[in-house]
Symmetry: C2
């Protein structure tokens, strides 16, 4: 790892801040930030705003103008070296006469990986890489997942009482968490390329799965709504079919597809045993559809199946300050886990209060 | 509320620190601290260490000597005005010529309440009261509970997985939380006058319910061990009967009491319906036995019954970073809670990580 100064850290931290401005809008592209520095002075800042629009480096170069010559460029992600929707950023940095490029994370994208740095280096631009890499890798977990595994980063959101209940056994339920937690879920949705639920939840709750929070600027985007519905029981009257954005239904039985397609839904089959859709195949298919971050908001059956098949990367649990008692449904249904050895270990990455509720963010670590 | 300066706050905060030194040893007395100040200089400090030994004010006066004259005394609890095991502290402060007494919390003790302040005031000592009162009331919750309600403050400790499981349904279980959380439980035990469990837990786990943590100086004290055992099924071989400290068994059927008494246990009856001991009456009885803080470490049946009867004041939940799934026992068994309206609201007072686990401390607020 190269040496980095305190000033290097500060400029990269600024680049990371700039990158975050695009987190709701760049998908399927990663959110990237760039800062151009002469000596200790920032001479240009840029970030990527939306796929098809200019990359962070190009925006920063435009802001710096002539002052880009001999500047240092702090970029959160390795500059691209290929012609995509826009010309390669490595070339733009070279042409502008930038003297040094400091990179947080090298690009996991197969078309770029290492080539941006290679292009810069062979043009005589100094390159240092790895500064605040973990921070950037964390915020780009979805992009990294799709590039390296061909499938989205799967985030499972659960709302439960402090004693682990989600609804009464008789089905009685209502909002468990408070308004601040629900607003927080809107941000989780906004940063996701798709939101997935099961047909059971659609039939019981008729959710919208849209981003409605006025303070979040999505620039017109809505996450893809994904419903797992092996028997294609999706009602034509489902709320989400009438809302802005796209609904994609995975099923095993396509015989009833036509009216749903006429209602605007897309129908897909990826295999499954009739009773349920093959979860692995769904994730692979969502990868080909360029979904980086998948948020799952589902009932205990689908949530439990994803956990039991080790397909969840991160859990976000909102715990409400209530005790609901034992006559309640559990957050995860895992009928096959009959021994302690079946349990899964978590690594808590964040713990905080959100309004009156608590929010626990944890990565899955597999069996203990 | 009188005016308090920043310096007043700092001196009272110091007195509260001193009081905390007695938290494991003063029971059934409250832990009290005292600071004597001339101008801005501390001239004497004291705290109460053990019932029967000198009170905080007397220790601080002894430390200050002649410099107590015209000093200000910061005391966390209203000085006593009655002859108990030691002479009244109000008299000692007056005799030493203290000019002003600043009190955090007035004493809820029926024999004292208001009389200490009254005695000081009629001797010409200035008194201001209420500084950092909530802080002191929080740490003396057990003492306040016994003085005002005649029963201990009931703290229910639970260890569970993040999804609310405590053991497999087939009974398979093991330590759920890590060593730091278990050390933390030792501190909860040490600050308690008694630790209560049910006979089910004794038969299943044979717990010791003692304080074993070497870093905690109990000065030989062990919390009273309380077992609810309506049918007096307590085995003579139970571990706790052989350990230092006292075991008290509440039962409804005293016919088998003699061998247990010979084994060193105390047996008590307070009424009940044969199947279970009357929980309310147990708490009242523990109040007459001068228990301020009762820690409950029980299985889901007793824990659930206490919660359902609204007898728990505070919940301390250790959540381990595991998912145990749905085929597990719940932390609380509440068979009668079949509607959402039965749920109880909590107020989270503390949320933190303890080793790899999380600890949630919450007050019960009754039905929502």
């Amino acid at each position: 790892m190269p040496n980095f100064t305190a000033a290097d850290h500060a400029f990269m931290a600024r680049a990371i801040q700039l990158a975050a401005r695009g987190k709701y809008t760049t998908q399927p592209n990663p959110a990237v930030g760039c800062v151009l520095v002469q000596g200790e002075d920032i001479v240009g800042e840029g970030w990527h705003e939306q796929a098809g629009k200019a990359h962070a480096e190009v925006n920063a170069l435009a802001a710096a103008g002539d002052r880009a010559r001999n500047a240092r460029a702090y970029v959160t992600l390795e500059p691209c070296a290929h012609h995509g929707k826009t010309p390669p950023c490595a070339t733009a940095l070279i042409d502008a006469g930038v003297a040094e490029v400091i990179v947080a994370m090298e690009d996991p994208h197969a078309k770029v990986d290492g080539r941006g740095i290679e292009a810069l280096a062979s043009a005589g631009v100094q390159v240092r890489s790895g500064l605040l890499q973990d921070t950037v890798a964390g915020s780009l977990a979805g992009f990294v997942s799709r590039m390296t595994r061909g499938r989205p980063f799967v985030r499972l959101k659960i709302a439960a009482s402090l004693d682990g209940g989600t609804a009464m056994k008789n089905g009685e339920s209502q909002w468990i968490t408070g308004p601040e937690a629900r607003a927080d879920v809107q941000r989780l949705r906004a940063m996701s390329g798709a939101i997935m639920t099961g047909i059971g939840t659609v039939l019981a709750d008729d959710p919208s799965l849209t981003v409605r929070e006025a303070s979040i600027d999505m620039q017109g985007r809505q996450p893809l709504r994904v419903v797992l519905d092996s028997g294609l029981r999706m009602p034509l009257s489902a709320e989400m079919l009438a809302l802005p954005g796209q609904t994609l239904i995975y099923c095993n039985d396509v015989s009833k597809r036509q009216p749903l397609e006429e209602a605007g839904a897309a129908i897909a089959t990826v295999g499954g045993d009739g009773e349920s859709v093959a979860l692995n195949a769904v994730l692979d298919d969502l990868g080909t559809r360029e979904i980086n971050d998948l948020l799952v908001e589902a009932g205990p059956a689908l949530a439990g199946a994803l956990i039991a098949q080790d397909l969840v990367d991160e859990l976000v649990i909102y715990q409400a300050p209530h005790i609901m008692g034992s006559e309640t449904m559990r957050m995860l249904r895992t009928p096959a886990w009959t021994a302690l050895a079946d349990r899964r270990d978590l690594q808590i990455s964040d713990l905080r209060r959100v309004g009156d509720d608590m929010r626990i963010t944890a990565r899955l670590r597999g069996r203990s």
